[in-house]
Subunit: 337 residues, 2 copies
């Protein structure tokens, strides 16, 4: 049984393809198609197992019913979570998502964007992986709405939804200080990225507010490897930090590996707190305290936002920061001395 098309239905129903199309698109009333005709069309469609050809309709209408999501890595549970949420949210609007991972590589990101553009995506949600935004601006200038989530750019008019990274970092740092820590090291991610800058700023401000100048900021990537290496280096210092603030869960995992190799216990020997939550964190040797980002809210807002833009509505507020949530587990203790 070959795929039936609108013409087959028209023949079976004894009507024109115009009529069929209008009935199937819910424009029957608008074009005053008779009840019996509607009935005939629907029956024929069912009988023929009709599935509309998206390509044809998209070619005609210019609407693809597709949005793209680019994230740095599906293997990172934090982004996988975002992808999952967005996927389901988008589907509710009868759109479909094409997910791409840029592998934390700006060039890959650019290439993928080009490929996606060729597929007539109607909108783009992206967690940019670098500090470049020109290619995203280009897409936007083509009339395709773009929304950044998680990571974003401050001075460009690309809408974004993210966590209030400053507040998250500030609170986490304050929490460390309140538990008595003063020698705290912050292992950061990509320095050019806004979230990283804000997290670092939150960290520094909290330290300064407490009159602590005894801090180190190091690292340069949101990766396992960066966390591992920097921690290794830290542990060489004659005066080790008593606490580490990792600016992502990947970094934190790297830390943990390095700590484990040195047989250091958390929080007995050293305290650790991180950005990003994940179910697994609760089952680690020491359940990890963290700054939880409102992933679900971000995802849902982003989708609603994007679809509004696609429908040509302008949105009231195009730059949104949602409050993070400090989850206290067992990885922060009193400073070891």
């Amino acid at each position: 049984m070959q795929k039936a098309n609108i013409t087959d239905i028209a023949e079976m129903a004894g009507l024109s393809i115009t009529t069929v199309s209008r009935v199937l698109n819910g424009k029957a009333e608008q074009y005053r198609i008779g009840k019996k005709s509607q009935q005939k069309v629907r029956e024929a469609a069912k009988k023929l197992n009709y599935v509309p050809n998206h390509f044809a309709s998209n070619l005609r209408t210019g609407k693809s019913g597709t949005i793209a999501l680019i994230i740095p890595s599906l293997n990172n549970p934090f982004f996988a979570g975002i992808a999952s949420e967005i996927n389901t949210a988008v589907r509710k609007f009868n759109y479909i998502t094409i997910i791409s991972d840029s592998d934390e590589n700006v060039d890959t990101e650019k290439m993928e964007l080009l490929q996606l553009a060729a597929r007539n995506i109607e909108g783009l949600i992206i967690v940019p992986c670098g500090d470049q935004w020109e290619h995203m601006k280009e897409i936007q200038d083509m009339g395709i709405p773009v929304i950044c989530i998680d990571r974003y750019f401050e001075d460009i008019d690309i809408p974004f939804i993210s966590t209030d990274n400053y507040e998250g970092a500030f609170n986490a740092t304050k929490y460390l200080i309140e538990r008595g820590h003063s020698r705290i090291t912050c292992i950061q991610g990509v320095q050019g990225s806004t979230p990283n800058r804000l997290r670092v700023k939150g960290f520094m401000d909290a330290m300064k507010e407490a009159g602590q100048e005894n801090y180190i900021i190091t690292g340069d990537d949101f990766t396992f490897h960066n966390g591992y290496l920097e921690t290794k280096l830290l542990l060489q210092l004659k005066e080790r930090p008593t606490a580490i603030f990792a600016l992502s869960n990947t970094i934190a995992m790297g830390c943990m590996k390095a700590l484990k190799e040195k047989n250091l216990q958390i929080p007995k020997d050293i305290s650790l707190i991180t950005f990003d939550d994940h179910p697994y964190l609760d089952y680690l040797s020491t359940p990890l305290s963290c700054v939880e980002q409102p992933v679900k809210d971000i995802s849902i807002m982003a989708v609603k936002f994007l679809l509004s833009l696609i429908q040509g509505k302008s949105i009231a507020q195009s730059q949104v920061l949602l409050k993070p949530n400090l989850i206290v587990r067992d990885s922060v203790g009193a400073p070891a001395e």
Copy 2:
């Protein structure tokens, strides 16, 4: 700057759209297009920033350059890993992947398949979430190649690539037995699914071979919740098992939660081994031993396989089982008595 089309290029180059199309599709030689003409076309295309309209070409050719991947849940790191691998593998062939998660729900799975069919996917890679296969057979009968990975069906002629679940379970069980365990409980997943059946069989055979009849098989779902509940129940028994074999990483996490709530230590109080590996497993309170599935190999094979089928090549062997790998960490010890 509006999107340029083939006609714009033709005008700029002073040639017909036919010629332009042929040059751009690499059919210049075949149709003996002159070198200068080719040059002109290419220059114009570059100058106009031409991006071909996939819809139009797909409408014409019937080829969408798209394959679909349906997995039970993106939130499960095991499947996220598969998705990531497949995504990148597919991209190398200039195809694109639409990822859907069925949320472990057969009805969702069916609905998504329908939606995807309407998008003219050229092939489907699926980790089926239930024990129904009719909808997949339908797709296949429409001439769209289908490949099951991880989970599959034995008696249907849908090609599959998976782990040798029997061997994996057999070896893991044998490993437990060798460490001295005899009272072992296996917490299984969806009973109707082939991998589950084979894992259970591997478990039972290993037990029988060792002359152990003192085992329990329980559970009915590859979920966190199932693992949690079943473990809770197990711990009520007057004669607790000394080891648990969880048939998925989600189940294992549920186990761990239940064990933790009872303040039981792994492996001191009870041993645990599981199917599926994940980086996090190495950082748990007790690094978890597991049966690692060759995710990358499965993914790459599936993609190559699928693309062969799409190109109309028949494939030599359509049912492949790859060897699993037992990763020994610290979660299995001598039985507590």
